[in-house]
Symmetry: C2
């Protein structure tokens, strides 16, 4: 299994505090030492920093934890290899271009015997079940909707069916973003927290036991949602997302959530805010 970290915000913001705790899971506070990566959406552009090495020891990851890259959407991943060798090409997040914009995907879990037929530009570069799932999603979106990006409700409904299908092959916690939307599927374990003014001035990072000020240098108008496999801080109202639920976020708000298994999804009080 691996670890996920995501951000969706109405204004560009950094994730230094959260990432400084998150990166410790790459070999120090957890065993996920087979690589790490982080994707920043900046305006219409995308920057991905990644390495097939433990993030807790990485000079590059250290710089990411200190350098306030500003982004409205961020997808980060720490890898424990279950399928695929330890190589850069197998390191999440993965990226492809669809409808003229970059899409990014990171996966926690393992899919068994998921070997769809893929052609064209959505063929995997590496050999992970995760990249196959991403390419299958991109291929499906293009096949279903052609050259025109559908509206959110249509896209979300299609993605729900796709998540149900993928769930038949195993555990598929994922974060998927095009720089505007953050689409998150909780198969077994994923939490999120809302951060907005007034910001917590003092929260303690679970992984480093350090205090940090979430409001430092942040525009008071910023409203963001942070998603992660395991809550990063004490002293914050993390919402455990129900197993078998798909979520859509934009501008730091929950747009929608639907179950991807039988039964209703519990609606966290703030989820519909």
């Amino acid at each position: 299994m691996c670890q996920l970290l995501g951000l969706n915000s109405n204004l560009p913001t950094d994730i230094c505090a959260s990432f400084s705790g998150f990166r410790a899971r790459g070999g120090r506070t957890d065993e996920h030492a087979d690589g790490w990566g982080i994707a920043f959406f900046e305006d219409g552009g995308l920057r991905i920093l990644n390495e097939p090495h433990p993030s807790c020891q990485s000079q590059l990851a250290g710089m990411v934890a200190e350098h306030p890259f500003q982004a409205t959407n961020i997808v980060a991943h720490i890898r424990k290899a279950t399928v695929g060798t330890v190589r850069l090409e197998n390191t999440h997040p993965f990226s492809r271009t669809l409808w003229g914009r970059p899409w990014v995907f990171a996966h926690n879990g393992t899919l068994v015997d998921f070997v769809p037929r893929l052609e064209g530009d959505f063929r995997p570069r590496g050999c992970t079940d995760s990249e196959r799932a991403f390419c299958w999603l991109m291929d499906g979106l293009q096949s279903r909707f052609g050259d025109v990006r559908p509206d959110f409700d249509t896209l979300f409904a299609w993605l729900r069916e796709a998540a149900v299908t993928l769930s038949h092959y195993g555990v598929i916690n994922f974060l998927l973003s095009d720089g505007e939307l953050m689409l998150a599927h909780c198969s077994t374990r994923l939490s999120h927290v809302l951060r907005q003014a007034p910001f917590s001035r003092r929260v303690r990072l679970v992984d480093t036991d350090e205090d940090c000020d979430l409001g430092q240098g942040v525009d008071p108008a910023t409203r963001s949602v942070v998603l992660t496999t395991v809550p990063l801080t004490h002293d914050e109202a993390w919402v455990g997302m129900p197993a078998g639920s798909l979520w859509g976020f934009r501008d730091g708000r929950v747009l929608a959530t639907v179950p991807t298994v039988a039964g209703q999804v519990r609606q966290p009080a703030e989820a519909c805010a």
Copy 2:
């Protein structure tokens, strides 16, 4: 205009010394202060570090100059915006996936009124003439050869015709790589130098006036070609590539070179080594 830097090597090697001089051109020794980027091919994977800021002041660029990322192919670019705003999405090098592998492209020059019709996944994310040219090349390769990557001679012959076509629209010095091949077109200005054992123990960087040891920590079996808009060092045998010539490199060797304008291309003595 912009500045290009490329590496093609038979063994993974770093480009720290060359990049430390190159990055100074991003606002210090030259005026190209509108962004920078560098792509490293590591095994089958790709890492691109980029910013829409001057490389000479960038913390990230400083780390790249010090951190020995090992790669067999590297494409770097420093931007002076001529077409397209100063944004991350307009920062070279650009990347797309074709035939299941990443391709990277960086351009020096300006194409006038080059607005090809592009569809599918090879549509530009930004608004530069450079990304349009790259997408047009990727689209053309896929349209011509379908899902099967052609052999080098076939690919090179097709790319020559494409370079001739692009040259009708303006200046198109470019570096194009899929992690195995380095394809370089000199429209007006591009040079390369061969680096192999015995390595120069003491060369002076043109941009920083510092000395460096090209053999330090390098496997003696390494053979690499470094390409750049303007030679980076004194004391090395830089080969000025003829205006209107396309070059193909693999494993630090020249595979082929052909003219993209009327007349013969001068064959540098070592070019056929």
